[in-house]
Amino acid sequence: MKRWMYCVMIACVCTACGANPPASFDPLRAPWDEVLTEASGKTVHLAMWGGSESINAYVDRIVAPRIKQTAGVTIKRVPIDDAKDLVNKLLLEKSERKTTGTIDIVWINGENFRTAKTNGALFGPFAAQLPNVQQHVDVDAPDIAYDFGLATDGYEAPWGKAQFVFIYDQAKIPNPPKSMEQLRTWVRDNPGMFTYPAPPDFNGSAFIRQALYEVAGGHEPFLEQTMDAQQLSGRAQPLWAYLNEIEPFLWRAGKTYPENIGKLDMLYASGEVWMSMGYDPARAANLVKNNTFPKTTRTFVLDKGTLANTHYLAIPFNAPQQTAAMVAINEMLSPELQIAKFDPNNWGEDMALDATTFREQQRAALQRIHRGEATLPTDVLAKHRLPEMRGDLVPVLEEGWKNEVARK
């Protein structure tokens, strides 16, 4: 009986807390210095994918101490293995009217952002309030204003840019393919040496979109706002034909696909396949650094370009420390932390900021950074960027892949 009384008591306390917002302070309207004062001394929880040691170390050893020092805000990282779980949790909390959650910042983009934003699970619009967004982010650039085809409207602030690259071993493949057509030839000449993660793995799903752009007549038609699921299924026929054509020459003759990018990397690391891939141009370099991949590992993009996207930081609608979350995000977008993120010794990923707005000294620091052999130079990547298609069409392709390729 006591247990029940206890739980009723807690329920009352929590409802009471929920009924009165912590303070009448509105960080979306207050001047920034008041926001800073309000945030100081608070702790924020940052939920992010926890599968990369370099990224975790960047947040724990560089971001957190710096934000503690400059803004007095403590960052606690919560490792998750798919942002989707968190978005579902937020939706559940939204429908159950839980007004005080646990997560203050979430690392997000694409379909997850679409689900969260269109269902009112995010706090904002806050991005325009942040001084570093005002000073250093080109908010009108299409690759920042639109996240997988959906206007961000200030509900998330860009943290970095990623691009799809293929990973290969220079010692085994002197001349990597430069187009999907050449990839087909290469796969046929080297049976068993190529495969891709099974969608809905994020990277496997990116691979089939990448292939779609090239084998179904360029990326432009797929960016049309009028494209719907039916049309997409129709236009995707050449993609299924292409994938089914290479299937017999894939690893294990295409009878199975690696369930996620981790498995593909493992196959590559042990030499069972000769190529891997991924949506982080610096990941190969990081895996070379920690000795998982051979030293001769390199990356390549296709001549017609590869998919690129921006990933963002957002604040849940029920984040307990929304003010401090805004301050922390602002700091994460500071030139210092973004340059540190660009450094391959930390993470090596592209900045979300426009470097032309930097001071002389910062630009010089940027110049000095060498991204390592396995990462392509920034200008090469920049020249080969293709925009992502609309996020709500992605599941259509994933479902199509299951029915047309995997279950055939």
Binding site: D85, N88, P200, T256, Y257, E259, K263, E272, K402, A406
Partner: protein, 279 residues
């Protein structure tokens, strides 16, 4: 104190089982959606129950569950027959019991994979030339990789579940039987086995039911298609919001399979009770 002592437990478990499953069932019929207004519908049931992949998944799940339980029980019985009191072996078996299933699955890939450690040993010994000559034991269509991993994990469980009973029966009865001139073999099959198999049946029932429900091993060691029910339901759960109710339906199918297995085990034990009553 009578059965009333169990009421707090009953309350908690009842709330967990009925409240939890009830709410999930409500969500599956559209009455408690994650977002939007409730709308009663059986769409998820129609979609899942008419899908071909469900049948394939059920076959695969059944096959894996039965084959791995069967092999595991066989191995466990042999080990129990051989080790008896030997506490050292028993303690040793605790170690694999403590390994998480996901790690067991990963280890299977690392050891039995085509370029895994076993294949490398074979290469070092000159048995194979190239990894492509190594037979495919993981992520294979039959599911041998999954079965290996489960057998490796479940044999210790069954041994530790069953061994104490075997040992007690031996202490109490086998000496008597041996005094009366029964051979060790006869004492085992004539005395220990008839008295102890019901608890072995329960143990293997638990294992079988667990295999039907668990995801880690088929996720890592399975093939893309056909996928086990647990993998299917997990993927639907992580899919779009429309697919969430479908995930629940697949999970209900798993539950149904588990109940069937359990019913069979209980029926066998009950029949034995009947027979004994007749003696």
């Amino acid at each position: 104190m009578k059965w009333q002592g169990s009421s707090p437990l009953l309350l908690l478990m009842g709330a967990y089982v009925c409240g939890g499953i009830g709410m999930a069932v409500l969500e599956s019929v559209g009455a408690a959606p994650l977002i939007g207004t409730p709308r009663w519908t059986l769409d998820a049931y129609v979609h899942v129950l008419t899908a071909e992949w469900l049948v394939d998944g059920m076959w695969l799940t059944m096959r894996i569950a039965l084959v791995s339980t069967g092999i595991a029980v066989g191995c466990a019985v042999m080990i129990c027959m051989c080790i008896g009191h030997f506490a050292l072996t028993r303690t040793l078996l605790l170690i694999p019991l403590a390994v998480p299933h996901l790690v067991a699955a990963l280890l299977t890939v690392w050891i039995a994979g085509q370029s895994g450690w076993g294949a490398r040993m074979a290469h070092a010994l000159g048995i194979v030339d190239h990894w492509s000559d190594v037979p495919i034991l993981t992520n294979d269509t039959f599911g041998w990789g999954i079965i290996f991993a489960y057998v490796w994990k479940e044999v210790p469980f069954i041994v530790l579940f069953w061994l104490p009973i075997v040992v007690r029966i031996r202490e109490e009865w086998v000496r008597v039987a041996r005094v009366h001139g029964a051979s060790a073999w006869r004492a085992w099959w004539g005395v220990v086995w008839p008295l102890s198999w019901p608890s072995l049946a329960i143990g293997s029932g638990i294992v079988c039911v667990f295999v039907i429900g668990a995801i880690e091993v088929p996720y890592v060691l399975g093939v893309t298609h056909p996928a086990s029910l647990s993998v299917l339901s997990f993927e639907l759960y992580r899919g779009t919001l429309v697919e969430r109710p479908q995930a629940i339906v697949v999970a209900l199918c798993q539950m149904l399979m588990c109940l069937v297995v359990l019913a069979i085990v209980l029926f066998c034990i009950w029949r034995r009770g009947q027979r004994h009553a007749g003696w």
